[in-house]
């Protein structure tokens, strides 16, 4: 049995570097802090590859199945016999996979930021926050128990807050970071309730104990019913609420488009590849509990995923800010992953959805990070986020163009690029489980191809915009990560996920279901062709189409007015009827009491000061009387 204790270094090195760069970064040259942060992640990446190699290949565990191993475990808080909170490292197929994803993408983002953030006054602050985020996310995926995961969950939220609000002088960035933190915090309320319910009923926080089919968790699945669903189902739904908030599922998605106010590398790292998939990871981590103990909760997961992906895809067709388009695309793809988990069964062939979800997580991280970093290169060249200011950029940005094109083809699901394999498995799993969901996902696949290529053509083809100064290609330090990620996007599809990452650790047999694969490719190609028709050269078709479907277009353009609904509820109802009375109470009663005490003291002291009259006789009289009274008291009562 290999000793995996060295995995402890993977999250701890970024933590140390976060503290180091954060405290001393202002004293060193900016590039040095950047290189230190990159080095930390580089070491982490190498260690992750070694771990993956050891776990998946060297162990030859394919015959007996991949089991979870606790590489490190210490008791942190021992409160009672049943309530102990440990900290540790859990090595498991999905955690090893996430290690590889997080460290690779984070390393690419670090290298890219060396060029993108050059000249920014807060350079070292950026890198320290990136290291903090990497530490938090790594801790989250390596957590051995649900409480530790919650701790790192909150840490990730804080890092996201710090990074979205990085340009803290911009009020829109500050508002966006507040919104992200508050929405995810609200979702985490549900998460915490779920954790407490789950651990109270099962008596443990530990993942290995919870997911054990013979363990206490699944034994309680029949117990106490409330409104028709068992306690276990309710707790899993609450836990999913936390996951839905972090993964920007409908209706807790409102923070994700606004989070694009952060710098583009942040969007690539956090809001595309790693943090937003934390919700998917949570459901995957607790998957046996979901599928064996609370299948109703799993239905909720599937439908939320499906609705979110459709919702986001429709909105993405109308947005003009390229980062917003990518944000909605992310939401849509995560909907795919949630749906795939939701329709999955447990064990063997039934667990196809689980495998497909994680596979798609992996490939999505590659191509979505690539898309964001490419968008960053475009923004870096053109100094604007809006599609209307771009066009014909393929002449000026060749490398960015090619890598962006590769990513778009990948996301459209064209073989042999990676997303074809992962998306295909999802569609197969959906088909076998729920035809309606399958139909939704099939349609969304087409929409995905359409709006991605709409984006692509609007940036790189289309009209010949006149630029104030010729856009120049990004420096090598920014294009090399693009090329590496493109390589990953192309070839990641050939990794044998069906052997490595499955719901019960045993390998799945892989076979392509041509009846599903070919139509999915066809609808992708149809989407591409439609986009080519509309957007490759400047035509009037899109505007005419928008004119005919005026209402639908308007609703989609305004993101279905969900933000306005939230604002209405908070401002008109919560602030007015709940916050205002509470504030009144605080100001008048709590503060009033304090002020009242001070006022009484002042009043009394003003009237008492007459005792200090300066008159000797008065002093002597008080003295004598006081002594006499004291003696009377002592003699009479003692």
């Amino acid at each position: 049995m290999t000793d995996y204790t060295y995995t402890l270094l993977i999250p701890l090195i970024p933590l140390v570097f976060f503290l180091f760069i954060g405290l001393t970064g202002h004293k060193m040259k900016p590039i040095v802090s950047g290189l230190i942060g990159t080095m930390g992640l580089g070491i982490g990446a190498i260690l992750s590859y070694i771990t993956a190699f050891n776990y998946f290949i060297l162990n030859h565990a394919a015959e007996t199945g991949y089991h979870s191993i606790k590489a490190f475990d210490i008791t942190w808080l021992h409160l009672t016999d049943k309530l102990t909170i440990n900290l540790g490292i859990l090595i498991d197929p999905i955690s090893v996979m996430m290690l590889v994803v997080i460290t690779t993408v984070s390393l690419m983002v670090h290298i890219y930021s060396l060029g993108y953030m050059k000249g920014d006054p807060g350079f070292y602050r950026f890198f320290s926050f990136l290291s903090l985020f990497s530490f938090s996310m790594l801790g989250l995926v390596l957590a051995t128990n649900i409480f530790q995961m919650y701790i790192f969950w909150e840490l990730v939220g804080v890092s996201s807050f710090l990074l979205i609000g990085y340009y803290y002088e911009k009020p829109s960035a500050v508002a966006a970071s507040k919104k992200a933190f508050i929405v995810t915090r609200f979702a985490d309320l549900g998460f915490l309730i779920g954790i407490l319910m789950l651990s109270f009923n099962t008596g443990t926080f530990d993942f290995q104990t919870l997911v054990d089919p013979a363990g206490p968790a699944l034994a309680t699945k029949g117990a106490a019913a409330f409104m028709g669903m068992s306690v276990l189902t309710w707790s899993m739904i609450f836990i999913f609420m936390g996951g839905a908030g972090k993964s920007a599922m409908f209706p807790l998605h409102i923070w994700l488009p606004d989070a694009m106010e952060g710098p583009t590398p942040v969007s690539a790292l956090i809001h595309a590849a790693t943090m937003v998939v934390a919700g998917v990871y949570l459901v995957a981590r607790l998957f046996p509990v979901y599928s064996l103990g609370a299948p109703d909760a799993l239905h909720v997961v599937a439908w939320v995923g499906g609705i979110s992906s459709l919702f986001a895809a429709v909105i993405a067709c109308t947005q003009t800010d390229i980062k917003r388009v990518l944000a909605y695309s992310t939401m849509s793809q995560i909907g795919y992953m949630m749906l795939s988990l939701g329709v999955s069964g447990y064990g063997g062939e039934e667990g196809l959805g689980f495998m497909a979800s994680n596979f798609h997580l992996f490939t999505h991280a590659m191509f979505k990070a690539l898309l964001f970093l490419g968008a960053g290169a475009v923004i870096h060249a053109v100094h604007s986020n809006d599609m209307k200011d771009m066009g014909g950029l393929r002449k000026y940005l060749p490398i960015t163009h090619i890598t962006f094109l590769i990513a778009c083809i990948t996301i459209a699901g064209i073989p042999p690029f990676s997303a074809f394999f992962s998306k295909d498995e999802i569609l197969v799993a959906a088909f076998h489980s729920n035809k309606i969901l399958f139909a939704i996902e099939y349609f969304v696949a087409g929409l995905t191809a359409f709006y991605m290529f709409r984006l692509y053509y609007n940036i790189f083809w289309g009209k010949n915009t006149h630029y104030h100064h010729t856009p120049h290609e990004a420096p090598k330090v920014m294009t090399i990560p693009l090329m590496i990620l493109a390589f990953g996007a192309i070839f990641a599809g050939f990794l044998p996920f069906n052997e490595w990452v499955t719901s019960d650790g045993m390998g799945l047999e892989k076979h392509t279901v041509w009846a599903i694969a070919i139509p999915s490719v066809l609808i992708g190609v149809a989407g591409i062709l439609l986009a080519t028709l509309f957007y490759k050269s400047e035509t009037a078709i899109p505007d005419r189409l928008a004119g005919t479907f005026k209402n639908l277009y308007k609703w989609a353009y305004h993101k279905f007015y969900i933000d306005e609904v939230y604002l209405f509820v908070t401002k008109k109802i919560i602030f007015q009827y709940i916050s205002a009375p509470i504030a009144w109470f605080d100001r008048h009663i709590v503060d009033g009491t304090m002020n009242g005490i001070a006022g009484v003291t002042q009043y009394v002291s003003y009237h008492i000061r007459g005792l200090q009259s300066g008159k000797l006789h008065q002093y002597a009289y008080v003295f004598v009387s006081g002594v006499v009274i004291l003696v009377i008291i002592f003699v009479a009562f003692m």
Partner: protein, 186 residues
């Protein structure tokens, strides 16, 4: 018998004259009444066989302090000036406090059974008193003696300093005092 009568006479003198001291309107008369009280106290000490103490009482108290008081009365006020008595409220309240205190203490004293020690002891001679004053043995009073001498020195210096007419000028402070005088005059 004889002693009892003497004691009662002395006690009466003490009490009557002390009351007169605190209630007399003419200040000089108060001083004289105080003198009588002090002399009566000295007689009381004689009766208790404390001869030296009585002599000291006459010398210091009656001879020194009362003379000092009379001098200061003459320095600071008219001889025939009538003192203003306190307002009625003040008198009544003070009387009340005083009476309460007196009652309390008298109750305590009369309620306790004092057993006099009747062992016959030789009277003190001045020689013994003197030796005890400078003796630093267990029963000696050398320490209080030294302390009291320092106290007397301090009182002497203090009295001189406080009562001097012109300000005491230390070297170097002449300008400072002149400045403060100028400022206070403005």
């Amino acid at each position: 018998m004889f002693e009892q009568i003497t004691f009662f006479v002395i006690a009466a003198i003490i009490l009557v004259f002390s009351v007169l001291t605190v209630t007399s309107r003419k200040i000089l008369r108060s001083a004289v009444y105080l003198l009588f009280v002090l002399i009566a106290t000295a007689v009381l000490y004689f009766m208790l066989n404390y001869n030296f103490l009585a002599a000291v009482q006459l010398t210091v108290y009656a001879g020194g302090i009362v003379v000092l008081i009379i001098f200061s009365i003459l320095l600071t006020s008219h001889i025939s000036e009538r003192a203003v008595m306190a307002p009625l409220k003040q008198s009544l309240l003070s009387a009340l406090a005083t009476l309460a205190g007196a009652t309390l203490v008298l109750m305590v004293i009369l309620g306790f059974n004092f057993v006099p020690n009747t062992t016959p002891v030789a009277d003190q001679t001045i020689r013994e008193i003197g030796l005890a004053l400078v003796s630093y043995q267990r029963d000696g009073f050398a320490l209080p003696f030294e302390v009291i001498s320092i106290l007397l020195l301090a009182a002497m210096i203090g009295a001189i300093v406080v009562a001097k007419k012109e300000k005491l000028i230390l070297p170097g402070k002449k300008e400072m005092i002149e400045n403060t005088e100028n400022n206070s005059e403005q």
